[in-house]
C-alpha cells in the first residue's frame, strides 16, 4: 500500500521542503508550477493608473509517493518546512495509490517507492 502526498506551497518554500524530505529519506518528488487561490483570495494592483486584480497566485505543487505508514510523517515534515504562519501557506492532502510501477525495473508498489 502506497500513498500520494500532494502539497501546494509557496514557491520559495520549495528548498526547505526538499531538504526536510531528503533528510527523512524520501528519494524522489515531482514539482509543478501552478496558479490558484484559496482563503486569501487575490489582491489589487495598479498599472499606469488603472487597477487590476491578481486573483491567481503562483504556487508550486509538490507530489511524492511514499509507503502508507510514512505518509503522516511526510505530511508533518512538509507542513513544518513550508509554514510561515501567514495566509497563503498552502495545503497538503493524501490520496491512496492503486498501483505504483518503476518503469525501468518493473518493480511494483512498496518496492517501487
Amino acid at each position: 500500500m502506497t500513498t500520494l502526498v500532494t502539497a501546494v506551497i509557496r514557491p520559495h518554500a520549495l528548498d526547505p521542503v526538499k531538504a526536510a524530505l531528503t533528510a527523512m529519506g524520501v528519494n524522489g518528488l515531482t514539482v509543478t508550477e501552478v496558479r490558484g487561490f484559496g482563503r486569501q483570495g487575490g489582491h489589487t494592483e495598479t498599472y499606469r493608473g488603472a487597477e487590476y486584480t491578481v486573483d491567481l497566485l503562483p504556487k508550486l505543487k509538490v507530489e511524492v509517493v511514499v509507503a502508507g505508514d510514512e505518509a503522516a510523517g511526510v505530511v508533518d515534515a512538509i507542513a513544518d518546512a513550508a509554514r510561515t504562519d501567514r495566509i497563503g501557506d498552502g495545503k497538503i492532502w493524501t490520496t491512496p495509490v492503486a498501483s505504483l510501477t518503476r518503469i525501468r525495473t518493473g518493480e511494483r508498489d512498496a518496492a517501487a517507492v
Binding site: 495598479t46 499606469r48 493608473g49 487590476y52 486584480t53
Partner: protein, 449 residues
C-alpha cells in the same frame, strides 16, 4: 595638406577656407544627428513591445520596421516636395519631386533629406503604439504611407517650410507640435476609431489594466529614445555651432530628468507605488515638452517645462483611459497632449518673447493658433483616412485573431518561438523555465465589449 583634402573630397576641392571646413563640419554633424534620430525607431519599437502583450510582439516590430521603410521612400518621392517645395498659397509645397531640388546654406540636399526623413519616420511611428494589439497590418501600412507622404509634409510646409504658420510667428524648434503633436493627434483619432482592446473595460465600464509583457523592453526603449533625442534637438541647430548645440543638449537633458521625476512622483502619490512604465512615459514627456524650445528656454526653465510635461502625461493617460480611447503605450498623451504643452511653453517661457519673460502675448497667440491649426488639420484629415480604411480594407482584426494574437494571424508565426507547438517537439526542454509567458492569459481575462 590641401592636396590631400582636395583628393579626399573633390566637391570642395577648389580652395580650403574656413567656410569650406565649417560646411563640411555642418554636414558631418547633421549626418551624425540624423543617425541618432533614426535610431529612435529602435527605442519606439522597444517601448511599444514592452508595454503590450507577448502574443503581439512580432506585429509591433513589423509595424516599426515597415513605417520607417515606407517613410523613407514616400517622403523622398513626394513628401519632401510637399514640405519644402515652392509654396502653393503658403499651404503646401509643389516642386522638388523625387528629391530633384533641396538643401540649404552649407548643408547638402542629401544630408538635409536624411535628417528630415528621420523626423517623418518618427511622426509616423508614434501612432503604432496607440493602435497596438488590434489593428490590421495592411491598414497600418496604408495609414503610414498617407501620413509620411502627405499629412506630415503639409504640417512641415506650414512651419519649417516657410508657410503660413511661420509667417504668423509660430516657433517650434525641433517639432513638439510639428512632429510629436501631429503623431499624437493621428494616434488619438486612430485609437478612437478602432475602439478599445477586448478586455480593456470591465462589465461595469471601468478601465482595467492590461499590463505590458516586458518592463526591461519598455525602459530600455525610453533610454534609447533619450539618447536619440540628442540628435533630434541639438541637431535641429542644423549647423555644427558648439554653443547653440550645447544649450539645446543641456535643455533636453534637464527636461527629460524633470519629466521622469515628476511622473514617478505623481504616480507614487496617486497610486501608492512609483509606476515604472509611467516614469518612462514621464521621461519621454519631458523630452517632447522641451522639443519646441530647447534653444530659447533657460536650463532650469527646461527642467520645469519637462516636469510639467511629466505631470500632464499622468493625468492625460488617466483621462484617455476614461473616455475609452485605449492607448496601450500612452502615445497620445506623451506626444499629443504634451506636444501641445511644449508648443505653448515656448509662448510662456521663451527668452524675451514669452508671456512670463516680458514679451507680451504675441508669441503665445501664434503658438495657440499653431496648436489649434495642427490639431484641427491632422484630426480631420486622419479621421477621413482611418474611416476610409475602415470602410474599404478594414481597420481592425477579427475577435479570434485579437484574442489569439496578431503574430500568428497577421505574420504566420509567434514573435517568441517557444510558443510554437507543431511537429516533433524536442524532448527534455523546459518551457516553464524560459520566463517568457508568450501565451499566458491576461491578468484581466474577462471579455468585455
Amino acid at each position: 595638406m590641401a592636396v590631400v583634402v582636395a583628393f579626399a573630397n573633390p566637391a570642395w576641392a577648389q580652395e580650403v577656407t574656413v567656410e569650406s571646413v565649417q560646411a563640411n563640419l555642418d554636414n558631418v554633424f547633421l549626418m551624425i544627428c540624423a543617425v541618432l534620430v533614426f535610431f529612435m525607431q529602435a527605442g519606439f519599437a522597444f517601448v511599444e513591445a514592452g508595454l503590450t502583450r507577448g502574443k503581439n510582439v512580432g506585429n509591433i516590430m513589423m509595424k516599426n520596421l515597415m513605417d520607417m521603410a515606407i517613410a523613407v521612400v514616400a517622403f523622398g518621392a513626394v513628401g519632401w516636395a510637399f514640405a519644402y517645395g515652392d509654396t502653393v498659397g503658403s499651404f503646401i509645397g509643389g516642386s522638388g519631386w523625387f528629391l530633384s531640388t533641396g538643401g540649404f546654406d552649407n548643408v547638402t540636399k542629401e544630408v538635409d533629406f536624411f535628417f528630415q526623413v528621420a523626423f517623418a519616420a518618427t511622426a509616423a511611428t508614434i501612432v503604432s503604439g496607440a493602435m497596438a494589439e488590434r489593428t490590421k497590418f495592411k491598414a497600418y501600412a496604408v495609414y503610414s504611407l498617407v501620413l509620411s507622404a502627405v499629412i506630415y509634409p503639409i504640417v512641415v510646409h506650414w512651419t519649417w517650410g516657410g508657410g503660413w504658420l511661420s509667417e504668423l510667428g509660430y516657433v517650434d524648434f525641433a517639432g513638439s507640435g510639428i512632429v510629436h503633436m501631429t503623431g499624437g493627434v493621428a494616434a488619438a483619432v486612430g485609437a478612437a476609431i478602432l475602439g478599445p482592446r477586448i478586455g480593456k473595460y470591465g462589465p461595469d465600464g471601468k478601465p482595467r489594466a492590461i499590463p505590458g509583457h516586458s518592463m526591461p523592453f519598455a525602459i530600455i526603449g525610453c533610454m534609447i529614445l533619450f539618447v536619440g533625442w540628442f540628435g533630434f534637438n541639438p541637431g535641429s541647430v542644423l549647423a555644427a555651432e558648439g554653443a547653440a548645440v550645447g544649450v539645446a543638449a543641456l535643455s533636453t537633458a534637464m527636461a527629460a530628468a524633470g519629466g521622469a521625476l515628476a511622473a514617478a512622483a505623481v504616480s507614487w502619490i496617486r497610486g501608492g507605488k512609483p509606476d515604472v512604465a509611467m516614469a518612462g512615459n514621464g521621461l519621454l514627456a519631458g523630452l517632447v515638452a522641451i522639443t519646441a524650445g530647447p534653444d530659447v528656454i533657460t536650463t532650469f526653465g527646461a527642467a520645469l517645462v519637462g516636469a510639467v510635461g511629466g505631470v500632464i502625461v499622468v493625468g492625460s493617460v488617466w483621462l484617455f483611459d476614461r473616455v475609452r480611447i485605449d492607448d496601450p503605450v500612452g502615445a497620445v498623451s506623451v506626444h499629443g497632449t504634451v506636444g501641445a504643452w511644449g508648443v505653448l511653453a515656448v509662448g510662456l517661457f521663451a527668452a524675451e518673447d514669452g508671456l512670463f519673460t516680458g514679451g507680451g502675448f504675441d508669441l503665445l497667440w501664434a503658438q495657440i493658433v499653431g496648436v489649434v491649426a495642427i490639431t484641427a488639420f491632422v484630426g480631420v484629415a486622419m479621421t477621413l483616412v482611418f474611416l476610409g480604411i475602415k470602410h474599404t480594407i478594414g481597420l481592425r482584426v477579427s475577435e479570434t485573431e485579437e484574442v489569439e494574437g496578431l503574430d500568428v494571424h497577421e505574420h504566420g508565426y509567434p514573435g517568441y518561438g517557444e510558443a510554437i507547438h507543431v511537429g516533433a517537439a524536442p524532448s527534455g526542454s523546459s518551457p516553464a523555465a524560459t520566463g517568457v509567458p508568450a501565451q499566458a492569459p491576461s491578468p484581466s481575462p474577462a471579455v468585455g465589449k
